[in-house]
Symmetry: C2
Subunit: 223 residues, 2 copies
Amino acid sequence: MSDVEGELRDVDPRAPEAPRRPRAIGGRRAEIASAAARFFAEHGYHTVGMRDIAEAVGMRGASLYNHFSAKEEVLYAIALGMTKGPVEEHLPLLDAEGTPATRLAALLRAHIRNLAEHRVEHLVGLRELAALTPEHRAEITDYRRYYQRRVRDVIAAGARAGEFAVDGPGRAAVAILDMINGISWWLRSEHDVDEIVENYVGFALDGILQHARARDELRRRDG
Amino acid sequence: MSDVEGELRDVDPRAPEAPRRPRAIGGRRAEIASAAARFFAEHGYHTVGMRDIAEAVGMRGASLYNHFSAKEEVLYAIALGMTKGPVEEHLPLLDAEGTPATRLAALLRAHIRNLAEHRVEHLVGLRELAALTPEHRAEITDYRRYYQRRVRDVIAAGARAGEFAVDGPGRAAVAILDMINGISWWLRSEHDVDEIVENYVGFALDGILQHARARDELRRRDG
DNA sequence: ACACCATACTAACGACCGTCAGTAGAGCTG
DNA sequence: CAGCTCTACTGACGGTCGTTAGTATGGTGT
């Protein structure tokens, strides 16, 4: 009946060791989470039913419980992918060689590209935090706080080195991350991602993180 | 400005004789919307029931329909207050005397102060757009687009006048507004609003809107 | 070949939600 | 007082939702 095709046996990028599972069963999970993210992004978590998500991947609502133990688990998987992932894969860029400025620029570039590639998941992970279990929400916000702290620290290092001219590295970090995360609200497929990346890295590195220098120079000029 | 305080309603709501409060307040609508905004901000629009909102203002769920024709109307009132209001009250600051920089600074200051004063409404108006009727959502986004366009125009004027050094006034406008609107996600009552206002106006005016100047100067310095 | 297990299905339950109908008391107006 | 309005109440309906139980099926390992 249901013409579920088996062709999309996928390759999960992060499956270090698949425990004795010959079938690529993680793939269906990712497929469901991806479809759910699209729906959540467009209509909101609570207005989307399990039956809606199921239909999008070609099954009936109840069958989703073979892959997720609850609807909230789907949201949790989406949110976790957008917080834990970047922390583990992008944050090492801050430990690489180079000045704080080059390292931060590399991080922001990776961040924005990741956001553009997973726009809906990113949007959902930001917007639907309140729908998570308190424990899950705490875990997500912990990841986010850690990420933000690392950005703050590299900004502080750059300020000490004279690369940045900013007072309040913490506030600048928040401002930069909010500015960048705002992209997920309006990004459309017709936008030029490369251009956006360069614009925003410029806004952050040459703009916000130089604002104290520009401010002093402008004041000196104007008297 | 705050209207009706929570006067003593220590009476069992089931009591056949309800406490007679002084008539004369049309502020009941505002009181309901305000309580609803607090709940929506904390728990999300769909997880908050009419009965929850009602309880917060001392009535039963069905009685809310004497003030709003539907739950969505409550959300609409909140969102409208946070979009139409600023458009009509703050945007005239852009038509006042002064250079583009001083006028834009005045607008951003007013914007952030308004956001801080109505943090929950602002957050809800941003986050729960998807829960609005298509017609209501279109109206809200129209207001927001218009606001954004006006900001873009004053940035373009400042760039022509040499006050700003930015390429792409539209993108800078979006970045600045996203950065500022991000405040509503983390603002707490213990924050110093005045300090935030000055920080963010600096980020925008001396930072993002000067990034092309800073970029060129840094490149010249570094070779 | 057989057992197993992952996965899909159908059917239904219980809870909750937005909303409405109908009612009643208080205050104002004549 | 009579009559109208405003606002709150009770009670309930219809629908939807997340979730569970029980069952069927087909591929896989032994």
